[in-house]
C-alpha cells in the first residue's frame, strides 16, 4: 500500500523521514504492512507473516527454524525422560535383588551357624565342653555362647544392611519422579560403593554378573546426565 504525503498529496514515497516529491515530513505512524496473516501463538491476534514479534503482546512469532528447534527440543526431552525411566527401572531391579539377597543372607547364614554349632557340639574329638570353651576363650577372648551370639549378630547385621540398601533403592526409585537428577546421582554413588564394599568382603564377587553391573552403572550414569539436562531446561523455562 502506498502512503500519501500529507503536504503535497503525492504517493512518491519517503526517504530519511522526508517526502521524495516535496521534502515534507513523513507521517509519524508507520502504515500497516500488507501480506499474509498468521495467528499469534499467545494472544491469537492477527499478525503479518513477515513480522517477527506480535505487536499486541510481544510474543515471538515462530519461524520455520523455531518450529524445527522446538521439535528437536521435544524429542530431546522425550529421550531424557526415557533415560530417566530406564534408570528408575534399574533402581527397582537393584532394590528387588538386594531385598532377595537380604532374605537369602539371613536364612543361609543362620542355617550355616546352626550346622556349625551342631557339628561342634556332636563332634567326637575326645574334647570336653569345658576344654573346648577354654580353648575358644584363649583364641577369641569370648565364651562359646558369646561367639555364637556374635556370629548370629553379624548375620543379622549383614542381612539388615542388605535390607536397608534395598529399601533405600526403592526410596530412590520414588524420589526419581520428583528429582531425577538427585535420585539418579545418589543411586549411582550408592551402587558403585556397594560393589566396592562387596569386593572388599569377597574379591571374586566383583566379577560375578559383571555385564549386568556395567549395564546398571551405564543406565544410572545416563539417567544422571539426562536428569541434569532436564533440570537445566526446566530452569530455563522458569
Amino acid at each position: 500500500m502506498r502512503v500519501t504525503c500529507a503536504a503535497c498529496g503525492k504517493e512518491e514515497g519517503f526517504s530519511e523521514g522526508r517526502c521524495l516529491a516535496c521534502g515534507g515530513p513523513a507521517p509519524a505512524v508507520a502504515p500497516a504492512p500488507a501480506g499474509p496473516l498468521v495467528r499469534c501463538p499467545k494472544c491469537r491476534s492477527a499478525v503479518q507473516k513477515s513480522e517477527k514479534f506480535c505487536a499486541k503482546c510481544g510474543a515471538k512469532i515462530p519461524t520455520r527454524a523455531d518450529r524445527a528447534r522446538a521439535m528437536n527440543r521435544k524429542r530431546e526431552r522425550q529421550e531424557n525422560q526415557q533415560k530417566v525411566n530406564r534408570g528408575r527401572r534399574w533402581m527397582l531391579i537393584v532394590a528387588v535383588l538386594t531385598l532377595f539377597q537380604a532374605v537369602f543372607l539371613y536364612f543361609s547364614g543362620m542355617s550355616e551357624i546352626d550346622k556349625a554349632i551342631r557339628e561342634a557340639e556332636h563332634s567326637d574329638l575326645g574334647v570336653s565342653a569345658a576344654e573346648r570353651d577354654a580353648e575358644i576363650k584363649a583364641t577369641t577372648g569370648m565364651t562359646w555362647a558369646e561367639l555364637i551370639e556374635q556370629s548370629r549378630g553379624t548375620v543379622r547385621l549383614m542381612a539388615g544392611i542388605a535390607g536397608v540398601l534395598g529399601a533405600a533403592f526403592i526410596g530412590l526409585w520414588w524420589w526419581a519422579q520428583i528429582n531425577p537428577f538427585g535420585a539418579a546421582l545418589t543411586a549411582l554413588l550408592m551402587y558403585v560403593t556397594s560393589q566396592v564394599i562387596g569386593a572388599m568382603m569377597e574379591p571374586e564377587s566383583l566379577l560375578k554378573g559383571i555385564l549386568i553391573k556395567i549395564f546398571i552403572v551405564v543406565a544410572l550414569f545416563s539417567a544422571v546426565s539426562a536428569g541434569h539436562r532436564e533440570r537445566a531446561f526446566s530452569r530455563r523455562r522458569a
Binding site: A30, P31, E146, V192
Partner: protein, 271 residues
C-alpha cells in the same frame, strides 16, 4: 542496533531499540519485540547473559561428570588401601591408605583450584561462631558414640577399636592420621571440590544433601551412614553458612579428635 550519527532524530513512533517505525496500535515492536515506551535495552548485556547461561550449563554438566569421576577415583583409592592392608602391617597400611586418599584429593583440589579458592580465602565465622562450633562438637560426639555402642550391643558384635592398629605407636601418629588428616583432606575433598562442583548447577540445599550422601557413602560402612550423613549435612551447612572451609575443618577435627581421645583413654587408661 545503534542509529547512525547523522540520522534524523527518531520520531515517537519509531522503536527505540531497533529504530523501525511502529504502527499506531502496536504495543510492541514487530521487528525486535521491544515494548513501546520502555527505554532501549542493552543488547550487549543480553547477549552476554545468554553466553554466561550457556557456559554455566556446560560447567554444570561437566561438574557432575567430574564429581562422578572423582568419587570413583576415591573409591579406587579405598580399594587399593584395602589391598595394601592385606599385605602390610596395620600401621603401615593406615599411613599408605591415608596418603593415597590425600594424594587424590590434593590433585583434584589443584585441578579445580578456581572453584575452591574463594572458600580457602575466607576466614569463615567470627570468634563467637567458632566457639559455637567447638561447643557443638561435644553433643555430636556423644550421639555418635551412643549409636556405635548401641549397634555393638544390639548385634553382639564385640567391635574392636580402629585404634588397635596404633597400639605401641606414638600417640601423635594416631592424632595425625585419625584427626588432622581427615579434617584437612576430607574437608578439602567433600566440602571443597565436591561441594563446589555440585554448587555449579544445584541450589545450596541439594548441594549440602548430595555432598553429605557422598561423604557418608565413601566411608564404606552402611550402618555408619546413619551418623556420617547427618554429620556431612552439618559440615556442609557450616561450609554454606560461612562460605569458608575452615569452620567445617575445625568441626571435623574436633569430632575425630574427641573420638580418638575417648578411644585412647579406653584402650590405654591413664595415657
Amino acid at each position: 542496533m545503534d542509529a547512525p550519527a547523522d540520522a534524523p532524530p527518531s520520531s515517537p513512533a519509531d522503536c527505540v531499540s531497533c529504530g523501525r517505525p511502529l504502527r499506531e496500535d502496536a504495543a510492541f515492536c514487530p521487528n525486535c519485540g521491544h515494548r513501546r515506551g520502555e527505554p532501549p535495552e542493552d543488547r550487549r548485556a543480553r547477549a552476554k547473559l545468554r553466553i554466561e547461561r550457556t557456559l554455566r550449563q556446560h560447567a554444570g554438566i561437566s561438574g557432575v561428570h567430574a564429581l562422578v569421576a572423582l568419587y570413583c577415583t576415591l573409591l579406587g583409592g579405598q580399594l587399593l588401601s584395602f589391598a595394601v592392608s592385606k599385605v602390610a602391617e596395620d600401621f603401615v597400611a593406615e599411613i599408605v591408605g591415608s596418603s593415597i586418599l590425600a594424594g587424590i584429593i590434593v590433585v583434584a583440589a589443584f585441578v579445580f583450584r578456581s572453584d575452591i579458592a574463594d572458600a580457602l580465602r575466607r576466614p569463615g565465622f567470627r570468634a563467637i561462631g567458632y566457639g559455637v562450633v567447638v561447643l557443638a562438637s561435644l553433643p555430636i560426639v556423644g550421639i555418635v558414640h551412643a549409636y556405635v555402642r548401641g549397634l555393638d550391643r544390639l548385634f553382639h558384635l564385640h567391635m574392636k577399636s580402629e585404634l588397635k592398629s596404633f597400639e605401641g605407636q606414638p600417640l601423635v601418629w594416631t592424632f595425625l592420621l585419625f584427626a588432622v588428616a581427615p579434617a584437612l583432606f576430607e574437608e578439602l575433598g567433600f566440602r571443597g571440590v565436591i561441594f563446589s562442583l555440585l554448587r555449579r548447577s544445584l541450589d545450596p540445599r541439594e548441594t549440602i544433601l548430595l555432598s553429605a550422601i557422598a561423604f557418608g557413602l565413601l566411608h564404606l560402612s552402611v550402618p555408619m551412614l546413619l551418623t556420617h550423613v547427618p554429620l556431612g549435612l552439618y559440615l556442609g551447612w557450616l561450609r554454606h553458612r560461612s562460605g569458608s572451609l575452615y569452620p567445617s575443618m575445625l568441626a571435623h577435627f574436633l569430632h575425630n579428635g574427641l573420638v580418638v581421645a575417648a578411644g585412647t583413654w579406653s584402650l590405654y587408661p591413664g595415657s
